[in-house]
């Protein structure tokens, strides 16, 4: 897939965007958003705060990010966060469950994590208020400040899912290579099939080349 917008580089990066390029290629999200530097300027710190290290450990955050991305059929985000989830210590069964390649209950048994995944599914795919039973289960295991942070994380991930999918952002070669090493053929399960819950579809991915950069 060809990106639908220009990805800027260190040479044509706007002044206020240059710090994001100081360490080399900042990735396609920053490289595309750099064309609106005043937006990049506030969006990246926000996204960093939402998705990056915080009071919540990496593992539950990656559960949220990968699960949300799979629910929204974001090939870019699923591909990018599969290695992160593996590095966070998730088993193959867990990763596959998050990627919707097997039922969640086959990957997870911990009540706290199941409550979180129920919350993710409800927030990412639902409309209107979250069902009381799901919210009550979540509240049993997670304090309010975590509920707030995790819900922001779901929303931020959804923003990125739609952004990356709509603009056709390419995954890095590093991600593609890592996925191949880990034996994941693509970033999204059932690429051409509508998601059973959301109805979202991802463009077909040539199997031989796994995820298109």
């Amino acid at each position: 897939m060809t990106p639908r917008v220009e990805l800027l580089n260190a040479e044509n990066a706007p002044l206020l965007a240059r710090p994001f390029f100081a360490g080399g290629d900042p990735g396609p999200i920053a490289a595309s958003m750099a064309t609106v530097p005043e937006l990049l300027d506030v969006a990246m710190p926000f996204l960093g705060a939402a998705l990056g290290p915080s009071s919540i450990p990496l593992r539950p955050k990656e559960l949220v990010i990968l699960r949300t991305s799979a629910l929204l059929s974001c090939r870019y985000c699923v591909a990018a966060h599969t290695p992160v989830a593996i590095d966070a210590g998730l088993t193959r069964a867990e990763v596959e469950a998050l990627r919707d390649e097997r039922p969640v209950v086959e990957g997870f048994t911990d009540a706290k994590e199941l409550a979180l995944l129920g919350w993710v599914d409800a927030v990412a795919t639902g409309t209107g208020p979250v069902d009381d039973a799901i919210a009550d289960e979540m509240a049993t295991h997670w304090p309010d400040h975590h509920l707030v942070e995790l819900t922001v994380l779901i929303g931020a991930t959804m923003l990125l899912n739609r952004y990356c999918s709509a603009l056709g952002l390419p995954n890095s070669e590093e991600t593609i290579s890592r996925l191949a090493v880990e034996g994941y053929a693509s970033g999204v399960v059932a690429d051409a099939e509508p998601h059973p819950t959301t109805g979202a579809t991802a463009a077909p991915v040539p199997v031989a080349v796994t995820v298109r950069p």
Binding site: L8, E11, N12, A13, P14, L15, L16, A34, T35, V36, P37, E38, L39, D41
Partner: protein
């Protein structure tokens, strides 16, 4: 006093705000920063936007306005828009000076008594040398227009653009004789280098510079706000983004404050090194 006004008063920010009125031009000069020519996308700023920018600039503490293009006088509204802008802040317009026939000159009557100056390019005392870079009959049209503008009470400056050393001492002396004869005093004649951007790249001309080497003049175009009028240049049809400050230009305080932030830490005085102030 706004932060921007304080920075301008302290000399940390230049006092001029530029506007790219448009990008299309009746000429296609070989060193044009913006690849301007007939038929290119106009990318014009609406007249009411231009007046708003000037009004907000004055409120922010800016001291004068520059208008450039393209050829701004291809815009039919320009004389009246300039008259309104000049009521707000002293105004400086870059024009190639080739469009001022009797009809257009008559439309400039609205500028009578306003604090406004035109800057017109004249690159050589020799018509053939001048016209080689700026197009056929450019010299004759400019030499015809300048006295007629001055007669109407419009201050005219002449800008001579070229590669360093291109103009010999004799050429320079003859050019100065010429501009004086046209009614332009020495203090209104500037010589400046070609900047290596836009079409100058295609012709392997010009001086390369870093952002910190040019004045941080706020420049508004249809594509956003830029660091200096050397910012929103065009090459291969693409607007350069390296000097982009923000896409948002309304209110003007947004790019003005972002520019001020970008200026932070920039060493003073480097902009005079390559002489394009």
């Amino acid at each position: 006093m706004s932060t921007v006004a304080e920075a301008i008063a302290a000399g940390e920010l230049p006092g001029r705000v530029w506007m790219y009125a448009n990008y299309n031009c009746n000429l296609a000069c070989s060193y044009c920063l913006t690849e301007s020519a007939p038929g290119v996308p106009k990318r014009a700023l609406p007249a009411d936007d231009m007046l708003r920018i000037a009004t907000e600039a004055a409120a922010l503490g800016y001291t004068n306005v520059g208008v450039t293009g393209g050829e701004p006088f291809l815009l039919g509204h320009l004389p009246t828009t300039l008259a309104s802008i000049a009521d707000v802040l002293p105004t400086f317009v870059l024009t190639n000076g080739t469009l001022f026939n009797d009809t257009r000159l008559a439309k400039l009557d609205v500028l009578a008594g306003k604090d406004i100056a035109f800057q017109i390019s004249l690159d050589s005392p020799d018509p053939d040398v001048n016209d080689e870079m700026r197009g056929p009959d450019n010299f004759a049209k400019v030499v015809d227009a300048i006295p007629r503008l001055i007669e109407r009470g419009i201050r005219v400056r002449i800008a001579t653009t070229g590669e360093p050393g291109r103009l010999s001492a004799d050429d320079h002396a003859r050019l100065c004789e010429l501009h004086r004869s046209l009614g332009v005093p020495d203090e209104d004649h500037i010589v400046r280098p070609i900047v290596r951007r836009g079409r100058a790249l295609d012709f392997d001309m010009g001086t390369t510079f870093l952002p910190e080497e040019i004045p941080a003049e706020l420049c508004i175009s249809a594509d956003g706000a830029f660091w200096s009028p050397f910012g929103p240049t065009v090459w291969n049809g693409r607007v350069d983004t390296d000097l982009l400050v923000s896409r948002q230009t309304n209110p003007l305080s947004v790019p003005a404050n972002l520019l001020l932030r970008a200026v932070g830490g920039r060493p003073h005085g480097d902009d005079v090194v390559i002489g394009i102030r």
